[in-house]
């Protein structure tokens, strides 16, 4: 696309000059009228087509007339301003390419100072985007002064916006200007308003990445330390993430002295929000500080987070258990898990808070691959079994949905005794969403447990779902049957499920009769031509005489669906007459679907 810009520039300019000469067609006044329209929706539409207007005006007049107008009239509905901020980020070519891109700065500068956060953020995003299109000289002459103006603005909004712009211009300016930029950033980190300090804290990591290592050590560390002990927890928690980024930048030997004291303090902060953040970022932190510090510092810190007094923090830490264990240094992994982590995990299994338990249940199975067969059987299995009996369905569900990890290590047989009651109970849960979730794991379970176990224990459940009183469950059950047949094969289908499904065609409840049709729709293809023609088709034909119209038009739909599986002779001699009869049904919908089937199957 780079070559494209170069090539297309010339013809575009000449074409635009042509449009320029024809003032009467697109006078700027008319266009600006559109941008000023009383109706917000119309203004919004015009702004969204701003590039069209610019194209009509040509690059010259876009620069000299349109942009000044936009800069001057920035008082509008936030929705319009948001659209404007976004448009301007893609305007470089419309003002004449990179050498003129700085023309876009004045309107974006104003937009970066408005009250509404989404507008400001979008303006900053566009500014960041076009900063890359500035030449180094333009960056110093036009862009960097803008950043400085924003950084020293009166109202917090402009200073907040400035925070996001330092890192994009820093790498490409002279060392004098770099020093100024560092100074401005420092000032904002100790700004009077917490909003600005929050913005600075959230950009600290990003800014550190573009700084030279010496300045990371001299400047960034002190800013980090200050922000991490801010009086407002909303600022402190943002410093945690910055700390992780900073740690990745520093050589190992500096970590202990420069970042660890602050991070340790954050892990024990009096505000649960900060501790939550530490727990949430724990895996990144672990990778950033390396194995030695992990062993000495992070293991005890992690234990504390797993035992935190706030459930939110425990849940966040529980979520990280597997990742943390996985990333432990290999030489001491097993010892650390067995002596330090597992005891905490055991306690969490019987936590008072269900979110904590369910967070743990979603990762705990992953530990088995790390610990191997013997440890899994001895230490983890009892925990899995306990969670399978948990009172909260979400916990049980999370365990069941992760069975594949355990399957690889110890085989599922070890669990199957306890699995069954848990599955049965979930299958009959009063909440249909729980039932739905367990259905979705059925094909996976069937694969892991094998056909025998399935036939003996689970088959009846799968059939029971077909007559559930919630449609979504019946639908999922139908789809489930198809997946099971894919796993176990057509022969299995013919012997176990097809008879039961077809039997439902005689059910007094028309909804169940329709389920038969839905099952046939789903199964015909996987079962193949023979079973479909021999066993299913006669039942479908019989149902074409059903007294309920819904059943009859579903017969038409089914025939359309299974038609491709049948051979042409059967279609012509058997299906066609039935559809023709349905096409002259007294019910409008039956007629409609019968005709549709006839035309789709080309039987007319």
């Amino acid at each position: 696309s780079c070559s494209c810009t170069v090539v297309s520039k010339q013809p575009l300019a000449s074409k635009m000059a042509g449009a320029d000469s024809d003032d009467s067609l697109y006078p700027i006044a008319v266009l600006i009228d559109e941008l000023r329209n009383e109706d917000v929706q119309l203004r919004l539409n015009s702004i969204k087509k701003l590039s069209t207007i610019a194209l009509a005006l040509g690059v010259e007049r876009t620069r000299t007339e349109l942009l000044p107008f936009l800069t001057d009239t920035i008082y509008d509905e936030d929705e319009v301003l948001l659209a404007l901020a976004e448009q301007l980020g893609n305007f470089t070519m419309l003002v004449g390419g990179p050498e003129y891109v700085h023309c876009l700065l004045p309107p974006l500068e104003s937009l970066a100072t408005v009250e509404e956060t989404v507008v400001r953020d979008k303006a900053v995003e566009s500014l960041r985007k076009i900063s890359h299109e500035h030449s180094p000289v333009d960056l110093e002459v036009h862009f960097e002064p803008l950043v400085k103006r924003l950084a020293s603005g009166d109202w917090f909004t402009s200073r907040t916006s400035a925070c996001g712009l330092f890192s994009v211009c820093y790498p490409r300016v002279s060392s004098t200007v770099k020093a100024e930029i560092r100074q401005h950033f420092r000032t904002l980190c100790s700004d009077d308003t917490p909003m600005v300090r929050r913005a600075a804290a959230s950009k600290l990591g990003e800014f550190a990445k573009v700084l030279e290592l010496e300045y990371v050590k001299s400047d960034i560390i002190s800013l980090f330390t200050a922000l991490a002990s801010d009086e407002q927890d909303s600022v402190r928690l943002l410093a945690v993430e910055a700390g992780v980024s900073i740690a990745t930048l520093l050589p190992q030997e500096d970590l202990e002295a420069l970042v660890m004291p602050t991070l340790r303090q954050a892990a024990e902060d009096k505000s649960w929000r900060v501790r939550y953040m530490v727990a949430d970022k724990f895996s990144d932190l672990q990778k950033a500080v390396g194995p030695e510090i992990t062993k000495n510092d992070l293991v005890p810190a992690f234990q504390n987070l797993l035992k935190d007094c706030e459930a939110e923090v425990r849940a966040a830490a529980a979520n990280k258990v597997k990742e943390f264990c996985e990333n432990l240094p290999e030489d001491s992994r097993e010892t650390i898990i067995m002596t330090h982590i597992l005891p905490c995990v055991k306690e969490l299994v019987s936590d008072t808070n269900q979110h904590v338990k369910s967070a743990l249940a979603s990762v705990i199975m992953g530990l088995s691959t790390i610990l191997g067969k013997d440890n899994t059987i001895e230490h983890l299995l009892p925990l899995f079994l306990a969670q399978l009996k948990d009172e909260c369905p979400e916990v049980r569900l999370n365990i069941i949905s992760n069975l594949d990890c355990v399957n690889e290590v110890i085989g599922i047989r070890q669990l199957s005794q306890s699995l069954l009651p848990a599955i049965v109970e979930l299958a009959e849960d009063a909440k249909w969403r729980v039932r739905l979730a367990i259905i979705e794991y059925m094909p996976l379970l069937a694969g892991q447990l094998g056909v025998e176990f399935f036939d003996e224990k689970l088959n009846s459940l799968c059939m029971a779902w077909l007559v559930d009183h919630v449609y979504a469950i019946r639908e999922a059950a139908t789809c489930n049957l198809m997946k099971l047949v894919e796993k176990f094969g057509a022969e299995w289908a013919q012997n176990t499920i097809v008879p039961k499904v077809l039997g439902m065609a005689n059910d007094p409840n028309y909804l169940h009769r329709m389920t038969t049709l839905f099952c046939i729709n789903a199964l015909s293809e996987v079962c193949g031509q023979e079973i479909t023609t021999k066993h299913m088709l006669p039942v479908v034909f019989k149902m074409s005489n059903d007294q309920v119209a819904n059943v009859r038009f579903n017969v038409a739909k089914s025939l359309q669906k299974i038609g491709p599986v049948l051979d042409s002779n059967c279609l012509q001699t058997e299906v066609k007459p039935v559809l023709e009869k349905l096409a002259s049904d007294q019910d409008m919908d039956v007629k409609y679907f019968a005709q549709e089937a006839i035309s789709v199957l080309s039987l007319a």
């Binding site: 074409k15 069209t52 009509a56 956060t117 929000r273 007094c309």
Partner: protein, 503 residues
């Protein structure tokens, strides 16, 4: 015409309220973070009852008072309902005795007790508020989570208030302890989900604002920060209504002319607060503050009304009704000269509201015509307002689905006709022509955009053709024969590239 019923905001939407649908929730109590913050904390020391203050000799009283304050710094975990029962009761009794002691005795607030009192209060009430038990907490519908340690905390707040209200209280001595940091922590507590706590905090902060002149600017600044964060960052803070209530009385006391700081507060905080999702929870207090400002300085009317119009709700009818209510409150106190400045944009909005398909919005707007003062303003400026209102009123009188609205619109049309019969007749006569003119304008606009879009299309074609030329030349120069497939591929690439450019 019927008078406006005072309780006209009744939910008549036919849907059962969420709170009714939900099984009545049990009031939940929870622990505060402070108790278990340190998991390895030593067991709480048992506290034993000291002799009663009233039984002590006056020389011993001071020392005993200090001891009791110190004793009340011991914290108990109320989540744990079995342990420390005796000590909890001792502390409760002690706190209650302290409340009595500072409210009934003179001369007990000697200098050394100030730091002790502040420490005791800080220890008991300052804490990181726990996460909400209910992450989707809807203050309008859900029962709040109540503070578990309230049996003690209530007495601490009570005690602190009596201390601040004691006639011997010396702000000059206290300001060393009740400082900016103290106030900041106090303000953060306004996020408490427990309304009982917020009620105490409101009174406490009010007293502090009244007695500590040096802290006033700081209190206002920190409240601003809380509001800005609420508006632009989190949309979550439980104590907005309480803070606004305090501000209402602060604004009342502002000296004239208003300082720039105060005007900025109005425009940059109070007006944007109207955009908050939870407006219903504090709208009454907010509207009171806004009207206070206009009453203080009528020249602010224009910016306020324009600000409200800028943030006028687009989809939330409930909020729109609140806005209309606030506009009526403003119109009740508006000066006729100020009214002239905003009548056009304002009545354009009112005209839209009257035509709202949501009958509560239309009804609320139409009620303006029941207000004598507003009616007199409309009458005085009927030449401007009538043309703005007429079109929608006329249309709605024919097509609104709700018969009540149609009846109200007829009344309004009648009133307007009586105001200026000639203009009314002219507008009726030109109604059709006006609609046609509008339609024509609409068509012209569509035509303009169609042409502009065509132009853009031509640009693309031009670029593509040009690219082909270059491609051909390039290929010819290299003496390559044009392969048909290759050429097609190139054309496709061109198209894709020019498309992505055109975006």
């Amino acid at each position: 015409m019927e008078p406006v019923p005072s309780d006209w905001i009744i939910k008549v939407d036919g849907f059962t309220r969420k709170s009714v649908r939900k099984a009545v929730r049990q009031r939940v109590c929870q622990s505060s973070s402070q108790f278990a913050a340190n998991s390895s904390r030593p067991a709480t020391p048992e506290i034993s009852a000291l002799p009663q203050l009233k039984d002590a000799s006056s020389t011993e009283q001071h020392e005993l008072f200090m001891q009791k304050l110190h004793q009340c710094c011991v914290m108990f975990d109320f989540y744990d309902t079995v342990t420390d029962l005796k000590s909890k009761e001792t502390k409760r009794a002690t706190l209650s005795e302290l409340v009595d002691y500072v409210s009934t005795n003179r001369g007990v607030l000697v200098e050394p007790v100030y730091p002790e009192i502040t420490t005791m209060v800080s220890t008991n009430i300052f804490r990181t508020l726990p996460p909400s038990e209910n992450p989707d907490f809807d203050p309008e519908e859900d029962e709040p989570t109540l503070e578990a340690s309230w049996p003690h905390m209530q007495l601490v707040y009570e005690f602190f208030l009596r201390f601040l209200e004691n006639p011997d209280f010396q702000p000059n001595t206290a300001k060393r302890y009740i400082d900016q940091k103290f106030v900041l922590q106090l303000l953060q507590l306004f996020d408490s989900e427990d309304p009982r706590e917020r009620e105490f905090l409101k009174t406490v902060l009010h007293r502090i604002y009244g007695k500590f002149l040096g802290l006033r600017a700081c209190v206002r600044k920190q409240i601003n920060n809380i509001f800005l964060r609420y508006i632009y960052e989190t949309e979550h803070f439980n104590g907005v209504a309480e803070l606004l209530e305090i501000l209402g009385s602060i604004i009342n006391g502002f000296a004239l002319p208003l300082k720039a700081e105060h005007k900025q507060f109005l425009m940059k905080i109070l007006i944007p607060l109207h955009t908050a999702k939870g407006l219903a929870l504090f709208h009454a207090q907010l509207a009171y503050c806004v009207v206070q400002f206009i009453e203080k300085d009528p020249t602010l009317t224009e910016v306020v009304v324009r600000g409200l119009l800028k943030f006028w709700p687009k989809t939330c009818s409930q909020k729109e009704v609140m806005f209309l209510g606030e506009i009526e409150e403003i119109l009740d106190v508006i000066e006729p000269t100020q009214f002239k400045k905003i009548q056009e944009p304002l009545f354009k909005q009112i005209s839209k509201c009257v035509a709202s398909p949501h009958f509560q919005v239309a009804e609320r707007a139409l009620y303006f015509w029941n207000n004598e003062y507003i009616l007199s303003l409309i009458e005085e400026n009927n030449a401007k307002i009538l043309p703005i209102m007429f079109g929608n009123l006329y249309r709605i009188s024919k097509e609104h689905w709700n018969p009540t609205i149609v009846a109200l619109v007829y009344n309004v049309l009648k009133t307007l006709m009586e105001m200026n019969g000639t203009l009314f007749d002219e507008l009726t006569a030109s109604y059709k022509a006006d609609r046609q003119r509008e339609k024509k304008k609409e068509q012209e606009r569509e035509e303009l955009w169609r042409k502009l879009d065509e132009l853009r299309l031509q640009e693309r074609i031009a670029i593509q053709n040009n690219r082909h030329d270059i491609q051909f030349t390039f290929n010819n120069n290299n003496n390559n024969l044009q392969d048909k497939n290759e050429n097609t591929a190139a054309a496709v690439t061109d198209r894709i590239e020019s498309d992505s450019w055109a975006k």
